[in-house]
């Protein structure tokens, strides 16, 4: 990889992205082995720096680092000096003094990982910054799409729902575009960000018109915790226009898959029957997350310092 930090999916060239996916394929083969451990990052330290709640991403990064034999330090803002008012920079300098080879950071402020990258010597991996980006989620989504469809190039992907607040949507648009997929964003006008015309994706307000032609549907979580205004009249109305239920599932081409980055609001953006259907890759995405993050850690940290 030519890059030292993974801050944005837009930083990944096609070659880098494919290198991650190919490496992840080999890492995934290891998951079936008796000894699920590789000595590759022995003696390296990976710090998980989480200023926001997370289940999947933190556990997944931790498992990935441990399977590569790195030492893992988990840091969550709760119960640390952050609650006493320590700034991100001072925390970063502490990590620097402890000799962290990689810092995996999740922060409510967009751009926090970029700032952090200037303060520490190690690699910085963005595990979600505000409403900006979540590049490893995009990589694991791309990996899941490739393992189900055998390719990404030329596929039609619909990303549906709360695009405005979604870092997953942003990262996926960039990465899938880099890898040659055709992305259509589907959302109510209130949940699309300003400037979305400039993204390498089409925009539609009508889910039913888009669904029959897609290979992949990616449902986004309605992020109520980030909603300070009312973006739609009621959950029921949102669900009726933009939720994926069994009727809409039947309207999909038979080979199309249904994705969701989790955590799900069952009954809002996705109905429980759809979430648990064989077309859904939601559990697979979580499993793939570990392999993809192992690949990223290996490619960023395995190299010369």
């Amino acid at each position: 990889m030519k890059i030292k930090h993974l801050l944005s999916a837009a930083d990944l060239s096609r070659e880098d992205a494919l290198a991650v996916l190919d490496t992840a394929t080999e890492m995934a083969a290891m998951a079936g082995r008796e000894v699920k451990k590789l000595p590759t990052l022995r003696g390296r330290t990976v710090v998980n720096l989480f200023y926001e709640d997370s289940t999947r991403t933190r556990i997944s990064f931790e498992a990935a680092a441990k399977r590569l034999s790195a030492d893992v330090i988990n840091f969550s803002a709760k119960g640390s000096s952050v609650s006493k008012g320590e700034s991100l920079k001072d925390t970063a300098l502490t990590l620097q003094a402890m000799g962290a080879d990689a810092v995996v950071v999740r922060h409510p402020a967009a751009g926090a990982p970029h700032r952090l990258a200037g303060w520490v010597d190690g690699s910085v991996l963005n595990a979600g910054d505000g409403m900006h980006e979540h590049p490893t989620q995009a990589l694991l989504d791309a990996y899941t799409i490739r393992s189900r469809h055998g390719r990404i190039e030329g596929l039609k992907v619909a990303i549906v729902g709360d695009v405005l607040h979604s870092r997953v949507a942003r990262s996926n648009v960039y990465l899938l575009h880099t890898l040659g997929a055709h992305v259509t964003l589907v959302a109510p006008p209130t949940l699309l960000p300003v400037g979305v015309e400039a993204w390498p994706a089409d925009v539609s307000y009508d889910l039913d018109a888009v669904l029959p032609g897609v290979d992949v549907v990616m449902m986004l979580r309605v992020q109520r915790e980030r909603m300070i205004d009312s973006f739609f009249p009621s959950e029921r109305e949102y669900s009726r226009r933009y939720g994926l239920d069994l009727d809409r599932l039947r309207g999909l081409p038979s080979h199309a898959i249904v994705m969701h980055p989790g955590p799900m609001n069952r009954g809002v953006e996705i109905s429980p029957e759809v979430a648990d259907s064989p077309r859904s890759t939601i559990v697979e995405q979580v499993a793939n997350g570990v392999s993809v993050r192992m690949a990223v850690l290996y490619l960023l940290l395995g190299g010369a310092r």
Partner: protein
């Protein structure tokens, strides 16, 4: 005699599994392959690297593989309970050729596998992350079997050290043996091969370059004047 390309079921001949532009220079190990500063495209490497002296040509390489297959049959009493594990890149087609010859000589079908050791290397910090090869074990696994590791060139022994670590994570074979096409000396670890195609005394500064039809379009072993004098191949890639 032109050796037909082996096409039996079993392990795929394994280029680096990258969709990207990188060709098969994935395992430029211990100075046994391309010298310093060469391009990555396979074609480019070949055309730039026509120097050096041919040590083994195609027909002789086939004879050597025949002999090694016979030796394996002899030392393992007919290759019973034996598994051949090729180390990517060029160990994999070599292992396949050995299995093919063993089948031709005695009708024994030897399970084949591939063992990528990249993640077990001790020089990742020095040389950086590289594309991974494929690890694929025979369906029956390797527990209780006699594993014969197959590689093209034995040099410092570090690849084999890494392979032994990798095997320990994959199962518990009854015995592990080593078959190499070329032993060029300069061991840095107490490791030796059980089956050697050819002992090739070399200077540390030289490079030994094995080409196989399956990967390089031709069979030959060439010795080339290298550029890195420390022999650790740090200049590679």
């Amino acid at each position: 005699m032109a050796r037909p390309q082996v096409d039996q079921a079993g392990v795929r001949v394994d280029r680096q599994p990258s969709d990207g532009g990188k060709a098969d220079d994935g395992k430029v190990v211990e100075g046994k392959s391309v010298g310093a500063g060469h391009g990555k495209g396979a074609g480019g490497v070949d055309s730039k690297n026509v120097g050096g002296k041919v040590i083994i040509d195609g027909p002789n390489l086939a004879r050597i593989v025949d002999r090694m297959a016979h030796q394996i049959l002899e030392k393992t009493s007919g290759a019973r309970d034996t598994v051949l594990l090729g180390i990517p890149t060029r160990g994999v087609p070599l292992a396949r050729r050995l299995a093919d010859r063993i089948r031709a000589f005695e009708g024994v079908s030897v399970p084949l596998g591939a063992l990528d050791i990249t993640l077990y290397r001790d020089d990742l910090r020095l040389r950086g992350a590289r594309a991974l090869g494929r690890t694929e074990l025979p369906p029956a696994g390797i527990d209780g079997t006699r594993v014969i590791l197959v590689d093209d060139v034995l040099f410092s022994g570090r690849t084999i050290r890494a392979a032994l670590d990798a095997i320990a994570d994959l199962g518990r074979p009854r015995q592990v043996q080593l078959a190499v096409l070329i032993d060029r000396g300069h061991r840095e670890l107490p490791i030796r091969a059980d089956y050697v195609g050819k002992n090739l005394p070399t200077a540390l500064s030289e490079n030994v370059r094995v080409r196989l039809v399956e990967i390089d379009g031709m069979d030959e072993v060439r010795i080339e004047a290298g550029r890195s004098l420390d022999g650790s191949g740090k200049g590679d890639r």
